[in-house]
């Protein structure tokens, strides 16, 4: 685990470092501290980072620009901020967690465990994905996403209109911040179940999920049972009666 702390309050930064080292000594590979975002950007571009603790003074004009910037990165972001009222906004941009200042050790450890154990929040509030493009960050609404496919260390985000956008986060990391409508159906696929139509069963224990435009995505064998159960419980959106069903 390679951690970067972006915090201009020396004592607070020291606290984050201390608590991380104390509780996650095994996982911790490196931890660096920078005081501002310029230094942070430079560091992130030079060294691979897994997790950023970001102190955002979100009351400033460009608070959300910075947040978008962080959300588009390959790393996970945990916002550590005094402005609790901005937590909901931060979650919408797809941060892993929001720690309100002042924070005790328990709260800090719980947050960091979300990262180390690969669990997101039970119901994550992410609404849009920040996607880094040349010179800008584009926000893509989750509703417009059909599915997401692993692409090495990155992910291909496939939109309803057929466009494919590259996200710098791995599929595993994206999965951690996506809400419950997004299901991991395969080692390499996460589908937006709001747009799923039915499951096709092929011979030899092969399964496929039909989504919009008659596209079919492979379903991992180990995940089929859980997915089928989830669909039968009717939690998926049902555009027409019986459309989200299992077809032989």
């Amino acid at each position: 685990m390679r951690v970067l702390v972006v915090e201009d309050e020396a004592v607070v930064a020291r606290r984050i470092v201390r608590l991380t080292q104390k509780n996650f000594a095994k996982e911790l590979e490196s931890i660096r501290v920078v005081a501002d975002l310029t230094d942070a950007r430079e560091l992130v571009s030079k060294h691979p980072i897994d997790l950023v603790f970001l102190d955002l003074n979100l009351n400033g004009e460009n608070g959300f620009e910075l947040l978008k910037d962080a959300a588009a990165g390959a790393y996970h972001t945990i916002v550590v901020s005094a402005y609790t009222d901005k937590a909901i906004d931060a979650f919408e941009y797809g941060v892993l967690d929001f720690i309100a200042k002042p924070f005790g050790e328990d709260r800090f450890v719980a947050s960091l465990k979300r990262f180390t154990q690969g669990r997101g929040l039970a119901d994550h509030n992410t609404r849009q994905l920040a996607i880094a493009k040349i010179g800008c960050i584009e926000l893509v609404s989750l509703e417009d996403i059909a599915w997401i496919k692993a692409a090495g260390p990155y992910s291909d985000v496939v939109l309803l209109d057929g466009r494919i956008e590259l996200h710098h986060k791995s599929l595993d990391r994206l999965n951690q911040i996506l809400p419950a409508t997004f299901k991991r159906i395969h080692r390499s696929y996460v589908a937006n179940m709001a747009h799923a139509i039915r499951i096709h069963v092929k011979g030899g224990s092969q399964y496929e999920l039909e989504v919009l435009n008659r596209k079919r995505l492979p379903i991992g064998r180990s995940r089929y049972k859980e997915l089928r159960q989830w669909m039968e419980e009717g939690q998926a959106m049902q555009p027409t009666r019986g459309s989200a069903s299992v077809a032989n």
Binding site: D8, E9, A10, R18
Partner: protein, 564 residues
């Protein structure tokens, strides 16, 4: 001939004589003769030695009334009796025995050969005439007069003789007098009202000067009306006219000073001196008090007009309504210079007073709104200051640091709690104040730096130079600059040194704050801190401050200039 009209015109020339004949025709010439002979009272005498008095000629009138005992004969041509009772109305600055067709009908004082024996007569005398003396035809009014108590050249001379309808009710006052009495009541009440309001609003001196203006006009109307209201022996005539002239002068000074103050002109002293000089110079131009009063009034109006036009030119508030109030005064005094003081002035002044009042009411409204605004601003600033210090960024970061010290070095945490308490205590003390002594501001800064030292685990220092004891400043101004400096310090190494300097200048003082560190961002430059400082400066020194900042020698320098 229209003698009323003539009377008005000739008054401007200073010496006035008028013979009027509301009912009867006067047959000219009017004859006079110095000396004394009771036979001269008779209807028919030899008038060959008598001189004719030309009422248009000053010298002729002065010769006719030299002061010593003399006689005047006036002939009336009476029409047929119309059945109504008649009064013989006489006005003269003299004592007189009055004969009608050779019969003594009345005595006004007692004319005499010398001053000791003379008893002054009333200036105005109304003599009811028996009907049998007023038959159709020619009648002779002969008067034995002396005016030893007259000062020849000061009062001018007034002679007026007429037969008029008898007064319906003896002692009833005429319509013009009634209007004057009404005006008197108005301005008196207005004056008292101004004084009462001033009594409870001492800071508004214009109320006081409006009050004095009203009372001066009251006295002026009273002096003008005294003759028709109460009458008096003729020697007091000069005194009354002197009073009128003096009161006119006071009115002129008061009105012009009031306008100068209202329009915030910088010349009240020179105005006072100049006008007084002008007023004192009037005897050069006019021999009589009436003429001088008229000149003083004209100078007053001219000065007021010039001031108001200047105010309009400079777009001073209330200048338009003032000129509207002045115009009737100016117009009437130009159209009817003779009658202005006697008749129209009081009405014109009433109009001017209404306009001045309207202007005052408007000014009070503007000031009240400004006061309300400033109270709102003060409350907003207090709120801003308190909010600034309990804002999440400050408070929550402080608490987070505190938590860290608690867990790591509890002793230091205790000190930090003390520093935080001190910081908050200072803030609650000063937040409502408009200004605080510099010592308090410094103590606040030091307390805050102590807190920030614990919070950021850094060393901060504050140096001062040239500060003047007990000098006051709006609260938390220097503190805000230091806060900005700290949030921009960017983790420098070693102690952060702030410097506060006071530079005395010719026009005021300047506070200079040097904060270490690099250039401050636009966010800080436009931030709430700087807005707070500017709002506080505007509150305490409206329009007299300057806020400058920028990088200087590796530091961020802020200059606050306050002009005195």
């Amino acid at each position: 001939m229209n003698l009323e009209c003539y009377l008005m015109r000739i008054r401007w020339l200073a010496i006035v004589l008028a013979c009027s004949c509301g009912y009867a025709q006067i047959i000219e010439p009017i004859l006079y003769r110095t000396g004394d002979d009771l036979a001269w009272a008779a209807d028919e005498i030899d008038e060959s030695d008598w001189q004719a008095m030309d009422i248009r000629d000053q010298d002729s009138i002065l010769q006719a009334f030299p002061g010593e005992l003399s006689w005047i004969r006036v002939r009336f041509d009476l029409p047929a009796d119309d059945g109504s009772a008649k009064d013989l109305c006489l006005t003269m600055v003299a004592a007189a025995d009055i004969y009608w067709d050779g019969r003594l009908v009345a005595q006004n004082g007692r004319p005499a050969i010398d001053r000791e024996n003379e008893i002054a007569g009333l200036i105005d005398r109304r003599i009811p005439m028996p009907k049998n003396l007023l038959q159709e035809g020619t009648h002779t009014l002969a008067m034995r007069v002396s005016s030893h108590n007259r000062k020849k050249n000061r009062a001018g001379f007034v002679f007026y003789a007429a037969l008029q309808e008898a007064a319906q009710v003896p002692g009833a006052i005429s319509t013009p007098t009634f209007i004057r009495v009404l005006a008197m009541g108005m301005v008196f009440l207005a004056g008292i009202t101004f004084f009462l309001i001033y009594g409870f609003n001492r800071q508004r001196s214009s109320l006081f000067w409006m009050g004095t203006l009203c009372l001066i006009v009251f006295a002026l109307v009273l002096a003008e009306s005294w003759r028709s209201l109460f009458g008096y022996p003729y020697p007091f005539h000069t005194l009354r006219l002197l009073f009128v002239a003096l009161l006119t002068g006071l009115f002129g000074l008061n009105l012009n000073l009031l306008l100068a103050a209202r329009f915030r002109f910088p010349w009240p002293r020179s105005l006072l001196a100049g006008l007084t000089l002008c007023f004192l110079s009037t005897p050069v131009f006019s021999e009589t008090y009436d003429g001088r009063s008229m000149l003083i009034m004209n100078m007053t109006l001219a000065a007021a007009l010039v001031q108001t036009i200047r105010a309009i030119w400079l777009k001073r508030p209330n200048s338009s309504i003032t000129i509207i109030g002045l115009l009737p005064c100016v117009a009437l005094s130009v159209i009817d210079p003779g009658g202005f003081m006697d008749h129209s002035f009081f009405l014109a002044f009433a109009f001017l007073l209404v306009c001045l009042l309207a202007a005052l009411a408007w000014t009070m409204r503007v000031e009240r709104l400004a006061l309300e605004q400033s109270r709102l601003d003060a409350a907003r600033l207090e709120c801003q200051l308190l909010k600034k210090s309990i804002q999440p960024h400050f408070m929550m970061n402080t608490l987070t640091s505190l938590m860290e010290w608690l867990e790591q070095e509890p002793a230091k945490a205790a000190l930090m709690v003390e520093a935080l308490a001190c910081d908050i205590r200072f803030l609650t003390e000063v937040s409502a104040a408009k200004s605080i002594p510099i010592e308090k501001e410094l103590a606040m800064c030091r307390s805050h730096l102590k807190l920030m030292a614990y919070r950021n685990d850094e060393d901060y220092e504050l140096e001062t130079e040239g500060l003047v004891e007990h000098e006051s400043l709006p609260p938390a101004i220097i503190l805000t600059l230091i806060e900005n400096g700290i949030s921009h310090s960017n983790g420098s190494t070693g102690a952060m040194r702030f410097k506060l300097m006071r530079e005395a200048g010719l026009k005021g003082r300047t506070y200079v704050v040097d904060a270490p560190g690099r250039v401050q961002t636009q966010e800080i430059v436009d931030g709430t801190g700087i807005k707070y400082i500017k709002a506080r400066l505007q509150e305490s020194y409206p329009g007299k401050w300057l806020f400058l900042h920028g990088p200087k020698l590796g530091a961020w320098q802020t200059r606050i200039e306050i002009r005195s």
